[in-house]
């Protein structure tokens, strides 16, 4: 059996530790007593020692990430075990254990219902999900977060049938349920809803962002009359293919093009360096019942609007069914959160660390604006960039937004 190494208790009061620095990498041979990593506890930075001999098969967390006590941080293959095989079987569950989560909820373009009653979950008061071994296996294979699945067994145990029903429901739940019905049937008495794994992750990551990143917010108003007209013309052409571009698709495209021009925004902040990413992978926050998730559109700067629409739809669909693969959730370099479909004019999003910026997109709406000395009606959209000031200064944020504004006001310029 491979050894799953978890975050040890290195100080009497620690509840989690930040994995400050890995001292090993995948493939390294370690002996008992070797230092695996430096861990920042609430008291000090301590070496985390190996209690076993083995080969590092998989690292679960990146340097700088906070890890709860007992959460797995790496997997050691023992003598005679194939480290790659170990990583392929055990590595997956780890990636799932740390789902990406972004700032504010942003339902997909067709308006996923964000108000449905939260599922009664099998999460025990301790936070442990009661589930049968087979249910866990089936959930893992289907990419279902078992903490989201209501359990029908004794003490709310999640069994195979529950996971299968949950996955099926996800598939059938595309049309949104009427929010009013949920409100009417909701009990008048208060409710105590134990945290799901996803809720805990969101809470931890949002708090981490707010606690560690000094953020700035920069807002611009963008006139999108031309974009709306182009969208209408293109959608007529695409009607035969049953493809309908959303305003959000144009925003995704423009953001990707703008990021290529401003690599300082397409970056991660690490303790000792700013990492400029080569690829432009745009994460798009998707609201789910009781949470949200950020699937990632890879190399979005190289995609046309049609591909952006088609690939986004595939990702939203997988997200709603809880069937995103780890690959579809990882590797984002920038995040977009869109509340435009709710009629929200402007809002601030919270950073999706270690990314250095996130764009909050409001609704395209008719507003009076001043052109020359005249008051004219126009379709306007406000977007707000939240940036981590450790990496992005105000001027860079403003330059990025100026580029973005230019692209969205004159969509043809994205062809340049």
């Amino acid at each position: 059996m491979p050894i799953e190494v978890t975050m040890p208790k290195l100080s009497p009061t620690m509840e989690s530790g930040v994995l400050a620095q890995w001292m090993v990498k995948v493939g390294d041979v370690v002996k008992e007593g070797d230092t695996l990593a430096d861990v920042e506890t609430d008291k000090a930075t301590m070496p985390m020692l190996s209690y076993d001999d083995g080969v590092v098969a998989h690292l679960d967390v990146a340097a700088g990430e906070a890890v709860a006590l007992g959460q797995r941080v790496l997997v050691l293959a023992k003598k005679g075990e194939d480290a790659q095989a170990v990583a392929s079987t055990l590595g997956k569950s780890a990636a799932k254990a740390a789902p990406a989560a972004a700032a504010s909820a942003a339902p997909a373009s067709n308006g996923q219902d964000a108000h449905a009653a939260p599922a009664v979950s099998a999460v025990a008061a301790s936070g442990r999900v009661r589930s049968s071994p087979l249910a866990r296996k089936v959930a893992s294979n289907a990419g279902v977060d078992i903490a989201q699945v209501p359990g029908s067994g004794p003490n709310g145990r999640v069994v195979r049938a529950d996971v299968e029903a949950f996955a099926q429901r996800g598939a059938a739940a595309a049309p949104s349920k009427p929010a009013a019905a949920a409100a009417v049937s909701a009990p008048r008495a208060g409710q105590r809803i134990p945290h799901t794994t996803m809720r805990k992750t969101i809470a931890r990551r949002m708090l981490e962002a707010k606690a560690t990143a000094p953020e700035i917010h920069v807002t611009v108003d963008i006139r999108v009359d031309e974009l709306v007209a182009v969208r209408e013309r293109l959608n007529k052409q695409l009607a035969a293919e049953k493809i309908k571009l959303s305003v959000g698709d144009f925003v995704t495209k423009a953001v990707a093009v703008a990021l290529r021009k401003h690599p300082g925004v397409n970056a991660s902040y690490e303790p000792d360096a700013i990492v400029l990413h080569g690829d432009v992978n745009v994460g798009i926050a998707v609201a789910l019942d009781g949470g949200l998730i950020v699937p990632v559109l890879r190399n979005a700067d190289q995609l046309g609007l049609r591909d952006i629409r088609v690939q986004s739809e595939t990702l939203y669909d997988a997200a709603r069914k809880m069937r995103l693969t780890p690959e579809q959730m990882m590797g984002g370099t920038f995040t977009i959160s869109n509340l435009g479909m709710f009629g929200v004019r402007q809002f601030d999003a919270i950073l999706n660390l270690p990314e250095v910026a996130i764009l909050a997109v409001g609704a395209a709406e008719r507003r009076p604006i001043v052109v020359g000395d005249a008051l004219v009606p126009a379709t306007m959209m406000s977007v707000t960039l939240t940036a981590d000031h450790r990496a992005v200064d105000g001027a860079l944020a403003a330059e990025f937004l100026r580029t973005l504004k230019g692209l969205l006001e004159e969509p043809a310029s994205m062809l340049l």
Partner: protein, 326 residues
């Protein structure tokens, strides 16, 4: 195929093996003049004479030891305990000598012996005469433990036991002696260590042996009729060695298992079997393995109370519904 009783099938097995091999003999209380307390050895004294069908005094430790000694020097004894409840006075001979002789002598002495006899709750025999000794003996490395539930297996397994070069605990069940069943004609030897799927099904695996097979099969039919649950029923036949492969193959299909045993629950046979399954295919289980065993108390004399101790159809059905979350 002939239809024989369990009793006659056992008689045939011993008779055929004694005809085949002059080293085989039968010794025990009442096996000769009285034709056996349960008439299993009927007619054998007449056929084989006093040299090979030997009445022993009430001295289980003594004649078990004589058998072991005879086996060490080349004979192939069958030692009958009138019931396995009486084997308790001979357990030192069985465990320390029969099971360990090959090991302790560095392979110089084999002990090709069969200890056989009745067992179980057989109706108003009370606490001291109703023992189910399978878990006690199944724990001992060096012993083979067999428990046939049908006449065909009774014959085939007993022949395999007599031919084994190591000590075999062959546990019959008193209430099965009169059961009839088809037994293949001619040479019929059932291999040791092979379980038998008595009923195929896809929803739940029922693991049982000996007398409990009947209640288990009846429960399977009731489950199919009333609940639409299709149970696979596996008769272990061989308690040690355990045919784990057959159990695992079935549970990989059904993802749930119930073990039905007349044994006591705590440290009973089913506990050891469940442990083996958990170790191998924990991730395939959709429910904890449940056991239907006898109640954790001395076996009462009163008939109704005794019946309440036994695994029965209702208890098996309830356990199956439990693991199926019905």
């Amino acid at each position: 195929m002939a239809e024989l009783t369990y009793r006659v099938a056992l008689n045939q097995a011993m008779t055929e093996e004694m005809e085949r091999d002059d080293r085989v003999f039968l010794m025990g209380e009442e096996v000769a003049q009285y034709d056996g307390a349960y008439k299993v050895s009927q007619g054998m004294l007449k056929q084989f004479g006093e040299r090979r069908i030997i009445d022993a005094p009430i001295s289980e430790e003594g004649f078990a030891g004589i058998g072991i000694g005879a086996a060490m020097v080349g004979l192939r004894p069958i030692i009958e305990f009138m019931t396995f409840s009486f084997s308790l006075v001979a357990i030192d001979q069985i465990v320390n000598n029969a099971a360990n002789m090959r090991y302790m002598s560095g392979g110089q002495f084999a002990v090709p012996i069969v200890f056989r006899g009745s067992s179980g709750m057989a109706g108003c025999l009370a606490a001291t005469h109703s023992h189910r000794p399978e878990a006690w003996y199944a724990q001992i490395p060096g012993l083979t433990v067999l428990m046939p539930s049908t006449p065909a297996d009774a014959k085939g397994l007993l022949k395999a036991a007599i031919r084994s070069d190591d000590p075999v605990i062959f546990i019959e069940h008193e209430v099965l002696y009169g059961d009839k069943g088809e037994v293949p004609d001619g040479e019929h030897v059932v291999p040791i260590g092979k379980a038998d799927v008595k009923r195929a099904g896809g929803d739940v695996t029922l693991i049982t042996y000996s007398r409990s097979l009947k209640a288990t099969l009846a429960a399977a039919e009731k489950l199919a009729a009333d609940e639409g649950i299709d149970a696979e029923v596996i008769d272990l036949r061989s308690i040690r060695p355990l045919d784990l492969d057959t159990l695992l193959a079935s549970i990989l299909k059904t993802h749930r298992a119930v073990i039905v045993e007349e044994d006591w629950p705590y440290c009973g046979l089913g506990a050891g079997i469940a442990d083996r399954i958990n170790q191998r295919i924990f991730d395939e289980l959709d429910a904890p393995i449940r056991r239907v065993a006898s109640k954790d108390a001395p076996i009462p004399y009163n008939r109704r109370m005794e019946a309440s101790m036994l695994p029965n159809v209702d208890r098996v059905v309830a356990a199956v519904k439990d693991v199926c979350y019905r």
